[in-house]
């Protein structure tokens, strides 16, 4: 972190002034943005950082001797250090990606390349043999599921999963029997984007380590909401997306333990990731550059650095504390509305982020969303890129409300009040 964690509580009213979009009105109503789980809104500081770069220092990085290029390179590498620091990592452990999906594909394809003999002797540890197992969870976002399915198809590996309980908790007993001798990779979310529960990383990492498997953490839904220390979590690799953590679109991070990144063969190839290139072959730079082919999203990296600086100034502990308040109000409120079923209604005391997905008995999620929108309330409806999890709960779609550091308790109340009118409007229940 770039600053000591703030000990003062977060005042959402002050924070709101930093987000220009919050002044928007939807019809006659003020915008109540409860869709931060899909994408976050951006504080002015992030927009300003990008604009300042584009109008004052824009140039290709790592490639020119001219002044603008040198300035741009410095800003860009400073951004890497800042974002790496935000997740507890060293700069060379942070690979820029275009987002979490790209980061997870990078890992899966790099393993596929190792399997095809690329990357030399060091990479052999990643190679998969037919029958080797890749383990994910039943709660996965498609981004942390389909790349592994495709890798399994390409290599003959077998994809297995850790089931989820009715209360949304991962079944750790089952995990202990799913993860075993043949397990080579264990990929799981820090926080599911439907359940909002903070998963037991230590337990899963311990199981994976005991099996000698590589661990891959999807930190998309934790990075914006908790103080993250990825090395302390002891995972091998982790991904996050800038646009979900107050930053720009088109940028994300792949964190990797140094020994893992150093041994992993490249994925995307092209300019800026090579040492010597002939027409027949190329040799590659060490990480992180090895994984950063082509012109990188420079202004977006600088924007993401501004975003995590902003989060650090507010203080991630304060963010989490505020969102815990919201989360309890949200869930308690939803529980008291007739005909609402919460997905992942875990025991009290389980750590979570302020995100709740739910089903309204007799009213389709899409109609609920439309009803809420008419009151200025933006929620997400659908399967949230987690079809298997919805199927597990007997649903095709749900409604998801997800808060952010700028969400107020009043907004949660406005939302709850609206939700309690849904079934009446559509003429179901009572």
């Amino acid at each position: 972190m770039t600053s000591a964690p703030s000990t003062t509580a977060l005042d959402p009213q002050t924070v709101r002034g930093d987000f220009p979009i919050l002044a928007t009105r939807i019809g006659d109503s003020p915008l109540v943005y409860l869709d931060s789980g899909a994408t976050s809104q951006k504080p002015q500081a992030v927009i300003d950082a990008e604009v300042a770069f584009l109008t004052g220092s824009n140039a290709a990085v790592h490639r020119g001797a001219h002044t603008l290029a040198a300035d741009a390179t410095e800003l860009y590498e400073d951004a890497r250090a800042v974002v790496a620091g935000f997740v507890g990592a060293e700069p060379e452990q942070l690979v820029w990606t275009s987002g979490a999906t790209a980061g997870l594909n990078l890992v899966a394809y790099a393993i596929g390349n190792a399997t095809l003999g690329r990357g030399g002797a060091e990479a052999r540890r990643f190679a998969l043999a037919p029958g080797d197992e890749i383990v994910v969870t039943e709660t996965e976002h498609h981004a942390n599921l389909i790349p592994w399915q495709e890798l399994a198809f390409r290599t003959g590996a077998v994809l297995r999963h850790i089931p989820v309980q009715d209360d949304g908790m991962l079944d750790l007993e089952a995990a202990a029997s799913v993860i075993g001798d043949r397990t080579r990779v264990v990929a799981f979310p820090h926080v599911s984007n439907v359940l909002g529960i903070v998963n037991p990383v230590a337990e899963l990492v311990a199981l994976a380590r005991a099996a000698g498997a590589l661990t891959v953490l999807d930190a998309c839904q934790s990075a914006p909401h908790l103080a993250l220390d990825l090395p302390a979590l002891d995972v091998d690799l982790a991904v996050f997306s800038g646009h979900k953590m107050l930053g720009p679109y088109g940028i994300g991070g792949l964190y990797g333990r140094s020994d893992v990144l150093e041994a992993l063969p490249p994925f995307l190839t092209g300019g800026s990731m090579i040492t010597t290139v002939t027409l027949d072959e190329a040799s590659y730079l060490p990480p992180p550059q090895r994984f950063e082919a082509g012109t990188q999203p420079v202004s977006q990296a600088i924007g993401l650095a501004a975003a995590v600086r902003y989060l650090d100034e507010v203080g991630m502990d304060a963010v989490h504390a505020h969102e815990r308040l919201l989360e309890r109000r949200l869930r308690d409120g939803l529980r008291s509305v007739d005909g609402i079923r919460l997905l992942g209604d875990a025991p009290a005391g389980v750590d979570r982020v302020a995100l709740s997905a739910f089903d309204v008995d007799g009213v389709h999620a899409h109609d609920v969303g439309q009803f809420l929108d008419a009151r200025g309330i933006a929620v997400r409806v659908g399967h949230h890129c987690a079809q298997p999890l919805h199927r597990r709960f007997g649903l095709t779609a749900s409604v998801r409300a997800s808060a952010s550091l700028f969400t107020t308790e009043d907004e949660i109340d406005t939302f709850l009040d609206a939700v309690s009118g849904v079934r009446g409007y559509f003429g179901v229940g009572r």
């Binding site: 019809g27 389709h364 899409h366 109609d367 439309q370 009803f371 409806v381 095709t396």
Partner: protein
């Protein structure tokens, strides 16, 4: 009438519950089925059309979805039933006209003379994110006709 009420008119909510044509008929000669899926919300519909020669006899369907998609399927089935014996060409023209209105962003309302109850879906065209919901059954209809 609020904006929301103009989207969810009584007639629409009513059709979404009544679901005219719900329950698939048997697969006979001249019967064709189309399955359509909306990947965004996971909704789907299985729609079956019965054609005799050039005459569209009836439409039946099954599926789960939002009020708009259910009402739209129901209204389509009742329209086909009312028209009793529309030709393939008429059916195609109907789908085309429906599509055009739904994509018009509120500029081309559906004519009640032609579309009967389904004309109540005109309001959907102002909600671009919901156009697919209303179109689902009609796309299935078009597809099934092409197979029948």
């Amino acid at each position: 009438m609020s904006e929301l009420d103009s989207l969810y008119q009584e007639l629409i909510l009513d059709h979404s519950k009544r679901r005219v044509g719900f329950g698939l008929t048997d697969e006979l000669v001249g019967v064709a089925t189309s399955h359509q899926h909306n990947p965004i919300c996971g909704d789907d519909i299985t729609l079956r059309v019965h054609v005799e020669g050039d005459v569209v006899r009836d439409v039946t369907w099954e599926g789960a979805g939002c009020a708009i998609s259910q009402a739209s399927a129901s209204m389509l089935a009742s329209l086909v039933a009312e028209e009793d014996g529309m030709s393939r060409a008429e059916a195609s023209a109907l789908v085309e006209g429906f599509r055009e209105a739904l994509r018009s962003r509120g500029t081309k309302p559906l004519d009640e003379e032609i579309f009967s109850d389904a004309a109540a879906l005109s309001g959907v065209s102002r909600y671009t994110a919901r156009v697919k919901c209303a179109m689902l059954a009609w796309v299935a209809f078009e597809d099934a006709l092409a197979r029948a």
